[in-house]
Every structure is written in C-alpha cells, then in structure tokens.
C-alpha cells in the first residue's frame, strides 16, 4: 500500500520539483534520480505482490493484479533507463541550441508527469479514472512532441492532439455506455465503474450496450495503440519529438493503451458470450500488421520507420489477444514486454546515431560501426531482435502467436507471414548500410549512454531463453483472466 503510494507520488512530486529546477545543469541528474526512486518503489511493490498476492486498496479504487504488476515494473524500468539515455542526448541537443532552459524545464517536468499518469492509468481500478489518466498522459506529451518548435514538430503535435483527442473522446463515450450498463446491473454510484465490481458482474451487463461500448472503447483507445486506420498521429509524433520521448511513447504509452483495451475486452467478452470482441480485435490487428509492414518499407526517416514497426507489433499483439486462449494471451503479454524493452533500446541507439550523423534520414547515416562500434552493434542487434530472430524474446512470442494462428485461424497465417517477411526485408536492408559501410558521421561532445541499450537487449535475450517463474505465473494468471479463445 505504501509502495503503491510511493510509485504514484514520486514521479508527481518529481515533476513539480523539476518544473522549478529542470533547467539547471543538475536537472538531468535529478530527472534520472526521480526515475530511479520510482523504479525502486515499483520493485518494492512487485516484491510485496510476490509475497502477499494482489492488492486492492484505497476504497478499492486502486489495485495491482497479475495483469498490471509486470506492466508497472516495466513502465518504471523503461522510464528509468530512458532518463539515463536522455542525459547525454539532451545535453547534445542543448549544445546544438535546440533546447533552451525553458524548454529543458518543460521537458523534465512533463517527462515525470507523463510517467506518473501512465502508472496511474495502470494501477487504477476505476475505468473513469483510467480514461482521465490516459487523456492526461496525452496532454503531457503533446508539448514534448512540439518542443523544438519546428514547422514539422508543430504539425506532428497538432495532429497528435487532435487525433488522440477525438479518439479519446470516443473512449469516453464508450465509458459512459459502460456506466449505463453498470447502472442497470449493479446500481449506479461512485463504485459502479470499478473494474473488479464490473468483472464480477460481467454476465449481468446488457449485451446490446456492451457491444456498442466495446466498439467505441476499442476505436478510442485503439487510436493510442496505433491501430490502422487511426494510426496517423503515431509516425509523426515519433519522428518529430525528442528521441527519449519516442522511446517512451513506443515502449510504454502504446502498451498502456492496449492494457486499457484488454480490461474492456474482459468485460465485453463476459457480457456478450459470443466472442465478438475477439473477432473485432483480430480484424483490426491483422489490418494493422499488414498495412504497417507495407508503409514501413517506404520510409526514409529512421525514426518513422521504427515507429511503423511499433504499429506493426501493436497490431500483432492485438491480433494475439483477439484470438484469446491461454497460449495466444501468454504470447501477447510476453510480446508486450519484449517489444517495450527492445523497441526502446532501438530508439536509444537510433537517437545517438541520428545525433552523430546530424540527420534522421537513413541515407545520411552510414558506417556507424567504424565511429562508434557500440552504437552500431546496439542498432544491429536491436533490429535483429525486433525482427524476431532467435534467441531473442520476440522470436518466442511471435512463434507462439503464429502457431496458434495456424491452428485457430489458418487463413490469417499467410497474411502474417507476408507482413513479417516484408518488414524483415525492409528493416534489415536499411539497417545494414547504416551500421556497416563507409562512414561520414562524427563523434560527439558527450559520450552516449549505451548501458541502457545493452541492458534492454540483455533482458530481451533472457526472456527468449528463460522466463522467471513468478513472471511466468503472472502471464498465465493474466492470460486466464483475459480469456477468450
């Protein structure tokens, strides 16, 4: 209970402090320190959950169960490593004159508040508060996407705000419909939107209302997941914002949005009993995977390309959860974890590489391995890992998803294989000359933070070979909870 309070309070207080001191030289370190404390609190919380089981606290308004405990730790962890990466990265940006003191303050403060809002969205039991936290997470990142004030970044941020605003408004309508169903089933009042109450009474929820509510919720939160055709904001926001923000958007925010969809799917499945939510998710997931793979092969900006790769992977997860059942759900949860780790590692490497080359265009980044072997190898290994090469964790989860698809939905398998093949060819053929070949890039004043890259890749590798028993338990419990199949 105290641990959960700390998990939420540390980034909040940190965000307020950094709003005052974020522009000092020490701001970078303060930011990393706050993120470290958040991670420590999250580890403590996890240890408590391992020892005592799930938590349900503060008038049942907050909870930690098998589905969100690992996401909380993952969010705090990636938040911390990204803050480490951000130190040298933002120093270079400041030296290049892209970050003024005021912008630094905004950046650090919003970074912490963004983390706080994601952790709140993950741990709240109230679907209304979940909505509020998701919207607040959007608001905190909007100004970060436009922090450089270039024409392109303003456009990206405007698109991000308007598209996600419209999306999240649809999710609000879905939440209102959910409340309407709850009012009929378990009575209204302050507790009617608590997920645990709704999940206990999910068979009583009116199917007519829930089917419409789920469509709105999926479209709404799906906008933030990056599902095609409501994905347009995502590549722009990733490409134009500072790279640490691209890393946390891809690694964390998309996961949190998908988590919201999963919570809603459990309720809709229980009420409808006909597998319709799963089928809708399969449809959206498949379209997303295929469309993203083809968009991906046409990109010239390195961050845009990996943003499309994120869309592709989110589509794959949506597809997996749509199929449902213990194996596909397990694979989806594992994929959420490894994708977050590896995609943020890639963005760290890409960030340093783009700074060295002075450009995000892939044709300008050449021969990284000669100037900076670690950045080069980080990018190469990260790309191989995200493309699903064994023994990385992505291989394990994609393998499970594909074998389940062959058994349950054989018609979908060729589409998935083609999409994965196209993505492989596209990313590998572009990363290869960026890493090897003749070089034109230069060294930078501040040494890059490469520890996070290799820690992430190491963990991604570990999850491909060995999943710790308690993590395995959580995945299995959560997979049962999500159900379907």
């Amino acid at each position: 209970m105290e641990a959960l309070l700390l998990v939420l309070a540390i980034p909040l207080i940190g965000g307020l402090l950094l709003a005052i001191w974020g522009d000092r030289e020490v701001g970078q370190d303060l930011n990393a320190a706050v993120s470290f404390l958040t991670l420590a609190a999250a580890v403590w919380l996890t240890a408590m959950v391992i020892r005592d089981g799930p938590l349900l606290v503060w008038g049942e308004w907050f909870f930690v169960d098998a589905l969100n405990v690992f996401l909380v730790t993952l969010t705090a962890f990636v938040g911390f490593t990204t803050s480490l990466f951000s130190r040298p990265y933002m120093r270079v940006e400041r030296d290049h004159g892209k970050m003024t003191p005021g912008r630094m303050r905004l950046y650090h403060s919003m970074y912490q508040l963004f983390n706080c809002m994601m952790l709140m969205a993950l741990t709240t039991n109230n679907l209304g508060i979940l909505w509020v936290a998701m919207e607040a997470a959007t608001l905190t990142t909007v100004l970060l996407v436009s922090v450089y004030r270039t024409a392109a970044s303003l456009e990206a941020a405007w698109k991000y705000f308007i598209l996600c605003g419209v999306g999240i408004a649809q999710a609000l309508f879905g939440t209102i419909l959910l409340y309407l169903a709850a009012e009929r089933a378990i009575g209204g009042g302050e507790d009617a939107l608590l997920w645990t109450h709704l999940a206990n009474a999910k068979h009583l929820l009116a199917p007519d209302i829930l089917s419409l509510a789920f469509v709105f919720l999926l479209l709404g939160y799906g906008t933030k997941v990056g599902l095609v055709p409501v994905h347009n904001w995502l590549p722009d926001a990733h490409a134009e914002g500072p790279t640490p923000i691209s890393a946390v958007l891809s690694g964390l925010l998309l996961n949190v949005a998908l988590y919201a969809v999963l919570r809603c799917k459990v309720l809709a499945d229980g009420a409808l009993q006909n597998g319709l939510p799963g089928k809708i998710m399969i449809g959206f997931g498949l379209i997303t995977v295929v469309a993203a793979a083809f968009f991906l092969s046409r990109q010239r900006d390195v961050k845009r390309m990996f943003a499309y790769s994120s869309i592709e992977h989110m589509g794959l997860m949506t597809f997996a959860f749509g199929m449902g059942g213990p194996v596909a759900n397990f694979a989806g949860l594992l994929h959420m974890t490894v994708h977050a780790l590896i995609k943020s590692a890639i963005f760290f490497a890409v960030g340093h590489a783009a700074q060295k080359a002075g450009s995000q265009a892939m044709e300008d980044i050449r021969g990284l391995i000669k100037v900076s072997p670690t950045v080069g190898w980080g990018l190469m290994l990260g790309s191989l890992a995200i493309l699903g090469m064994p023994p990385f964790g992505v291989f394990a989860s994609e393998f499970l998803i594909l074998t389940t698809a062959m058994r349950e939905y054989p018609w979908a398998t060729p589409f998935l294989l083609i999409a994965l093949g196209v993505a492989f060819a596209a990313i590998f053929s572009r990363v290869q000359p960026m890493v090897f070949g003749e070089t034109s890039v230069r060294a930078l004043a501040h040494p890059p933070a490469l520890l996070p890259v290799f820690i992430h890749l190491g963990l991604g590798l570990m999850l491909g070979l060995y999943i710790p028993p308690y993590l395995n338990d959580w995945y299995e419990q959560a997979a049962r909870m999500i159900g379907g199949g």
Binding site: I129, L143, S146, A152, L154, F161, I162, D208
Partner: protein
C-alpha cells in the same frame, strides 16, 4: 406537495427534450457558421443549454451530484472557456475573421445522414436506460458526430478547437442523458483534462502563428507518406 406538481414535472421532462434539441440545432449552426466570433457565441449558448438540461434532470431525479456537475459545466463551458477563447482571438487578432467554407449544403446533408445514423444506433440502447432523459441519447450521439464532422471540414485552428470542445459538450450530455451522471471524481477529472487541454491548445496556436504567420491548418500538411 402541490396539486399542480405532476403537470410541472411533465413540462420539465419535455423541457429536457427542448434543451437537447437546442444542443443539436446549435451543433448544426456551428458547422455552417463562418465568423469566428459568432462561433464562440454559439459554443457558449450550447454550454448554457447543457447546463439547463443537467439542472432539470437534477431537479427531476433529485440527484444532488448532478447540481455540482451542472455547476462545473457552467463555470467551465459558459464562463471560463469562452473567456479564454475571447482573449485568444483578441491576442491572435482574428476576432473579425471570416472563414470561407465550401459546400455548406453538402456538409449539412452529410450532417443529416449522421443524425439518422446516430438515432438508429442509439434506439436499442435508449430503451434499456432507466434515466428520464433516455430518449435524448440519440441526440447526444448525433451532436458528438456533428462536432466530429466540423473538425474534419474546418481548415482553421480556432474553429477546429471549438469543434473539439463542442464534442465534449455532446459527451457530457450523453453522460447526463443516458445515465444519471458519471461518478463525481471522474467528472472532475474529465473537467480538469478539458481545461488543461484548452490551455495547451492556446499555447499551441501562438506557436503555430509564430511559425507560419497564419492559423490555417492547411500549412500543417507537410508530413505525408512518400
């Protein structure tokens, strides 16, 4: 208890429909309105009819938290946001701007189709609602979709934002019409998000103006797929 109370209550129940219709008509008016200043007036009026509808529902169902909800809506949608918008258009110097809109009749026809669609979608659900204002769920959904349409067809930043806010009005109305208002804390959270959102949008518009010397969203179409 007065002998005329049932009649008054019937009248009040009907007045909810009246205010709901007002919301919808105003949503249509906003789509066709070219002058930014009038647009803000229309938005304020829409907020006012939302407050009135919420108050009537609160009185009829005797739910005290709906009075608070009406108060929040009043402060936010009728006072604070319109003041912010007025200051914004003054400082951006676009108070007397007139936007050229193409194809108003076509847009209106699309709007009518949207309304029919919304009513069809809402009919089976409205029957399940226990709220006295359940017939108005269709209207709420229709005004959400109309605001959505407005955001698509408008090319300038301020009207797009007003479309966004008007969509929020429709959603709040849905919450009062279909249910008897969301839980208080959730409603406060939503109101807070809306307020922060409009402040950020205000900051944004200055940034856009600084960058492009115009608030035309058509400048924001450089990022395209190759």
């Amino acid at each position: 208890m007065f002998f005329w109370e049932p009649e008054v209550n019937t009248l009040l129940t009907q007045s909810i429909n009246l205010f709901a219709t007002g919301l919808l008509v105003l949503a249509f008016a906003m789509i066709a309105q070219r002058r930014i200043l009038t647009l803000i007036h229309l938005f304020t009026l829409q907020g006012a009819s939302l407050v009135a509808a919420t108050l009537v529902v609160a009185y009829l169902t005797d739910q005290h938290h709906l009075y608070y909800s009406a108060a929040i809506t009043f402060v936010l949608k009728v006072v604070l946001i319109p003041i912010l918008l007025h200051r914004l258009i003054d400082r951006l110097n676009v108070r007397w701007d007139v936007e050229t809109l193409f194809n108003i009749p076509t847009t209106m026809l699309i709007g009518i189709v949207l309304v029919i669609f919304a009513f069809n979608l809402a009919t089976p659900i409205a029957g399940l609602s226990a709220s006295i204002a359940r017939g108005t769920l269709g209207i709420a959904l229709a005004s959400v979709l109309l605001s959505f349409l407005m955001m698509i067809v408008r090319a300038k930043a301020v009207p797009q934002v007003i479309g966004f806010l008007s969509m929020e009005n429709g959603l709040f109305f849905a919450a009062t019409a279909a249910t008897s208002g969301m839980p208080m804390l959730v409603e406060l959270g939503i109101a807070f998000d809306v307020l922060v959102g409009i402040l950020i949008l205000g900051v944004f518009m200055f940034q856009i103006r600084e960058q492009f010397d115009s608030l035309d969203i058509r400048h924001l179409e450089k990022l395209k797929e190759e």
